[in-house]
């Protein structure tokens, strides 16, 4: 599904500074043809900056950008074979929907009949035919964003760039449009690079996710891999809600030790040598509760402090070694705050990170 292996967008040693502020430093990224790549990170980490560099809306300070094997580092945005969709929709307010979609084409002197054809096709794909004569001001947020996607579609390009396209929409609409975007990608098979700070969007849409922090890609992997094998402490803490339960301690004689806790690590597959101080992380949904806990590598009794029923499942806040420790249990279980729970943790489900460089062990 995710492309045929050819490279669509390649970024080599990209630097970008605003005056004295270095936002991107020697960034490398390669996106496969037909891939849906999500750039995920907290606000201000440089996602939009990276996307604007790919689009050619910012002049890079150093490095190169290739699209379809062509060096486009200094090409105008319109010559790069990209279409872009923005958070604020950025529709031309005085033009009709049709005008918005055709203005760029008219300007590029595309023949009238072809413009008509392309607009009709995009309108059909996005189901906005009834809106073609309307002005953007007469559209809802979701319709506006659809038109903005249509404006990118008619350009008949290889690569679509999205900068937080759903962030201005309410939750319900966001979920709907997310599904539509995924269907659109399946249907068109274009390369899509999608910027968001919303991890649900990232996990559901992406073939691969690039998690960014301070202009550096922390991990580039499939959503599953990022979820189950975070490359470092930042990624582990960033992905998942509630976040991974973390305990700081040390490794001695094949055991993780922190306060009262002692976890045998025989079943944990290490990536590199263990040395001294580490972080031990376990996701709330990987903590075994009740009878399942029997026989786990670590068994302990915890007291429910806060219970948050979400319907499908229930979150329980407890504390271990004085640190927050979340459990996710079935929505059917009856737990009240103050109850004591038996919990179990298997080292195989856990993630260990070096306390020094915070990389995965």
């Amino acid at each position: 599904m995710s492309g045929n292996g050819a490279t669509s967008v390649e970024i080599k040693n990209l630097d970008l500074s605003f005056g004295a502020v270095d936002v991107l430093k020697g960034l490398n990224l390669s996106v496969n043809e037909g891939e849906f790549l999500v750039l995920l990170g907290s606000s201000g980490c440089g996602k939009s900056t990276l996307l604007n560099c790919i689009a050619g809306l910012l002049d890079v300070t150093g490095g190169q950008v290739f699209i379809k094997g062509r060096n486009v580092t200094w090409a105008e945005p319109s010559e790069r074979g990209i279409g872009m969709v923005f958070q604020s929709y950025a529709l031309y307010p005085q033009m009709s929907v049709e005008g918005n979609m055709s203005f760029g084409l008219k300007n590029a002197r595309v023949p009238k009949s072809e413009i008509k054809e392309r607009v009709a096709r995009a309108a059909d794909i996005l189901q906005i035919e009834p809106l073609l004569k309307r002005k953007p001001s007469a559209l809802s947020g979701g319709q506006r964003q659809r038109v903005a996607i249509g404006r990118a579609l008619v350009r008949d390009v290889d690569v679509f760039l999205f900068d937080e396209p759903l962030s201005n929409l309410d939750a319900k609409l966001r979920a709907d449009l997310r599904v539509e975007l995924k269907q659109l990608h399946d249907r068109l098979d274009n390369t899509m690079i999608y910027v968001t700070h919303d991890q649900v969007e990232a996990m559901t849409l992406a073939d691969r996710i690039a998690i960014m922090k301070d202009g550096i890609i922390q991990q580039l992997a499939s959503p599953g891999e990022i979820y189950s094998r975070p490359a470092n402490l930042y990624v582990a803490d960033f992905i998942g809600s509630p976040a991974m339960n973390l305990q700081q301690g040390r490794v001695e004689n094949g055991h993780f030790l922190a306060g009262e806790l002692s976890v045998p690590l025989a079943s944990y597959s290490f990536e590199r040598e263990v040395a001294g101080d580490v972080w031990f992380g376990i996701r709330p949904e990987h903590v075994l509760v009740g009878d399942d806990a029997a026989g786990a590598d670590l068994e302990l009794t915890v007291k429910a402090e806060v219970v948050e029923p979400l319907g499908s499942d229930t979150l329980v806040l407890t504390s271990v070694n004085g640190k927050r420790f979340w459990l996710r249990i079935s929505g059917q279980s009856k737990v009240a705050s103050g109850d004591s729970l038996r919990a179990g943790v298997n080292a195989a489900d856990a993630s260990l990170f070096d306390a020094g460089d915070e990389e995965r062990l």
Partner: protein
């Protein structure tokens, strides 16, 4: 409550403005001289008005000044704003310098430019002293171009404010609009004309009102710079009204001229208001 409280003020304003206006119009059909007298003379005053060379010159001057001032204020103001919008350094300094003349009254502006354009002290003198002895630049002393000398002063004074307003308008345009148009491959000038300027419609309406008020106030400039001279070459309608009423004690003739000015304003404003507010309802 607030509305009720405002009623006396609204009534007073209506009485004074509408009453005063009506009174002026009515007495323009009389033969009043020093004092208003209800001695009806029909359209005599208007006939005399349109046969007066000075009035015709005034009208011509106002038309030239008005049209040029409108076009140049908008064009220069917008171009300066677009230049300043390119994130240049020292923007604040430039903005202050360009806005500074607006802090001066028309009278001061008029005096300043009277000196600058004075052949014996100003530009002409400076260029000549630099060695170009035959250089001539004395618009205020040349009947044919004196109105443009006044125009320069008017633009110098008023364009800064127009620029600042336009700059604020440009800054209000979402940066993503610019990005979208670049991705679409639309040249900058086309983006300004087809996308940005239409988005700035409210700013343009505000500036139009300001420019129009500047055109009306040109009286002050003329008084300070040329007193209507040389001869009657830089007369303007407001000055005609003032002079006829208070210097030549010919009230009714002044009223007739005022009424013509009112009529001209109405001819411009009423269709515009109709379009503006009539179409708003249909939206």
């Amino acid at each position: 409550m607030a509305k009720i409280a405002a009623i006396p003020m609204i009534l007073t304003a209506l009485c004074v403005f509408v009453g005063g206006t009506l009174w002026t119009v009515v007495y323009s059909f009389t033969g009043s001289k020093l004092l208003p007298k209800a001695k009806w003379v029909g359209l005599d005053q208007y006939e005399r008005l349109w046969n007066t060379n000075r009035w015709i010159v005034s009208i011509e001057n106002l038309m030239i000044y008005g049209i040029c001032s409108l076009i140049f204020s908008l064009v220069i103001g917008f171009v300066l704003a677009a230049l300043l919008d390119q994130k240049i350094r020292f923007e604040n300094t430039f903005r202050t310098i360009i806005l500074y003349p607006f802090a001066l009254s028309f009278i001061v502006t008029g005096l300043v430019w009277q000196w600058i354009l004075n052949p014996d002290f100003g530009v002409q003198n400076i260029v000549r002293s630099l060695g170009w002895a035959s250089f001539e630049f004395d618009p205020l002393y040349n009947q044919d171009i004196v109105i443009y000398g006044i125009l320069i002063a008017g633009l110098w004074q008023g364009t800064g404010l127009i620029m600042v307003l336009m700059l604020a308008g440009l800054r209000g345009i979402d940066q993503e609009i610019w990005k979208a148009s670049r991705v679409d491959g639309i040249p900058t000038w086309k983006t300004y004309i087809f996308i940005v300027i239409p988005m700035m419609r409210p700013v343009f309406i505000t500036t139009l009102v300001l420019i129009a008020s500047g055109i009306v106030r040109v009286f002050d400039l003329v008084v300070a710079q040329t007193s209507g001279g040389p001869g009657i070459a830089s007369e303007v309608p407001a000055k005609y009204v003032y002079d006829t009423m208070f210097l030549r004690q010919n009230l009714a003739q002044g009223f007739a001229a005022s009424t013509m000015m009112l009529l001209a304003v109405a001819i411009v404003i009423i269709p515009w208001a109709y379009l503006e507010f009539g179409s708003r309802k249909r939206d």
